[in-house]
Structures are given as C-alpha cells and as structure tokens.
Symmetry: C2
C-alpha cells in the first residue's frame, strides 16, 4: 500500500534497494533529498549517472578509472616492479591511505569462491598473469582478505606465478595495533606467534 | 585526499551528505550503485530528479502531492468535518496505516520552536486557520508529537481555533501497546494514570 504520492514512493523504493537500508531509513533519506535545493538534488542524480557512465576498469591494473589507464598506473614516480594484488578497489584506497606503499596494484574484483560459483576466470587473474609474463615484475604482494576465499585465491595465484620467477608475498597476520591479546581469536594469535620477530 | 577516480569520489561525497551516512557507508552505497545495471542506476537518478521536480504541497492540506490537491483531499469517501493536524508528511503515512482514521489532514511541516527560531508563521498554521474559518469543520485532532514543541504547537493552535467553535482534541498519552510498566518513564506513566478509563 502506498501512503505517499507516487514520485515520493518511487524515491523511497529506490533508496530501499541500497544495501542495509530498510523502509524507515529509505523514508528518511528520501525526505532529506526532497528537502535539498533543486540544484543539489540534481547534483546527486547527476553524480550517479556520470559515475555509472564514465567509470571503467583501468586496462592495466583493473582499478576503477575514468580514463584508459588509472592515475596510479600512470604515475611515473611509482615502483613498477612491484604489484599489490587486492580483491576490491576499496582495498586500493585502504592501502594508499597508509602512504607506505609505492608500487602498482592489480584489482581482481572478487575472489575465487567455488561455493558461490566464482572460478578463476570470473576474477581478473588472467590480466595479472599477462602483466607478470610481460616481465619487469620483481614482487607480487598478495593482499587479498585474510579469510578462506582470500587465502585460496592468494595460494592459487602464487602457484600460477611461480614459473615467472617473481617473489610472491602475503601481508603479515597478527594482533591489530591497539588490540588486546585476550580479545584476539586463536587463529590470529597462532599466526601472530608464528610470525614473531626478534626485537 | 582522493583515493578513487573523480566520478567515484563525487558519488561517495554525494552519499555522504545524506543524514546518518559516514564515509564508510557512503563508499559501500556508491560501489553498490556502480555495480547496478546502467538502466537501474539511471532509474535511481531519475527518481531523485522527478520527485524533486514534481512533488509539491497540496493546496488544501499541505501534504506532499504531485497534483494540485492530494488524493486524500480529493477522496469523496472521507469525512470532511474532521482535520487531523500533524507536523510531518510521514505522520500522515503513520496514521493512514492504522486504517482507523477517515477524516482529512493538515500538515504543518514543522512545529513552533522559538529555540530554533521557528515561529508560527514558519509552519502552515495560517493555512489551517483558513480552512477552519471557511466552516464545515467539526473537530480538529492535534496529532503533533508528544514532545515539548509538539505540545506547545498543539496548545497554540487550540487557542487560535477556539473562536471558530470547533472541538480541538489531542491524541491519548499512555503505555505503548506491548510495553512494560517497569520500562515506562514517569511522565508517560503519569499521563497513563491521568487518562485511565473505566473497564
């Protein structure tokens, strides 16, 4: 049953499609948008259309970009002999925020997950092998998530790349900075022990 | 600092303007929209533009509508001698959901709030007085929120309407259905006692 005029109901329904947004939140967001000045509401709508129309995958690293190759791949100051492999563009942002990494990236857009019918051909592994086989790569950091699928994908890629003589590395596991030992799960603690370093 | 390509950053920023949406949620929503088929993303954008362009206030009750008068005001089956005054279009939806009310509405679009610089002329009280003074109204139900501002607004309107000889009523206060006495605050409990009825 519809309690608002059709354009408002439609807007509420659109917001309700967003992940984690129920009817009440969708109502709140829709009424917020209605309260915006017309120019701002249009800016919102145009941001959606323009992002959808202009954003594509970088032909080198598969990260999101609005040009042929992304700004990270085009940055001459970056170390072109290291590739950090992540499953998601959001992970690129997370690593860039550390300001500790100066190499290139490769975005898989997912992880291998046989349970969900996602095989190696459904993520951008082929493209990664292409880049490595073209030569000039010294190290490939496998920075997929530390869960089952991320692990399996990292292992699969490491095996695939072994003929090319590149070093495949994996992010360190351990206690998060600021974390408490007593709250760390045993797997994390086991990995933290295994990876202990001399002080 | 921008970690995504400009159109994606712009989309994230737009989502971040929404109430209760921080950077992380905005990212999640933006990437969800990017993952939609182009037609669906356009549907979302168009819903914003069309709601913003077509939605206006009903010239009678000030509820949101896409025509001159809203469907509730035009519904000949409704009792035209009762007006339920609410502060927000969402309250109309809430009352309609009860299916217990068959009169007309009046949406104030806010409550009088001297603290926030909102006076009687900043909400649609003038329009309500206009409707009541035109005659034919038997009862005005003041269904503003049971908080300080809602109370004050209800009292102000009741006084304003007294010369027209209409009955001004207020929604009952009490324990919410399914609620527990022990969790009711004392104000609610006091009002529930005051409003007790013979069984």
């Amino acid at each position: 049953m519809r309690f608002f005029t059709a354009p408002v109901e439609n807007l509420i329904e659109q917001f309700q499609k967003l992940p984690g947004v129920g009817r009440k939140t969708a109502q709140r967001l829709a009424f917020f948008v209605l309260s915006l000045p017309e120019a701002e509401a249009e800016g919102f709508a145009n941001a959606i259309i323009s992002a959808k129309k202009t954003v594509k995958f970088c032909k080198v690293c598969q990260n999101l970009t609005d040009s042929e190759t992304c700004s990270l791949c085009e940055d001459e100051a970056r170390d072109r002999s290291v590739i950090c492999v992540v499953s998601d563009p959001k992970d690129v942002a997370a690593i860039e925020k550390t300001r500790e990494y100066n190499g290139l990236y490769h975005v898989l857009h997912g992880c291998i997950s046989p349970m969900n019918g996602i095989g190696p051909d459904d993520v951008k592994i082929k493209e990664l092998v292409g880049r490595v086989s073209a030569g000039g790569i010294r190290e490939v950091i496998l920075a997929t998530n530390p869960d089952t699928e991320g692990e399996a994908t990292a292992m699969y890629i490491a095996r695939l790349l072994s003929p090319f003589g590149v070093t495949a590395t994996r992010l360190a596991y351990g206690i998060p900075v600021g974390g408490h030992l007593e709250y760390a799960d045993e797997m994390t603690l086991t990995r933290a022990l295994e990876g202990r370093r001399q002080m």
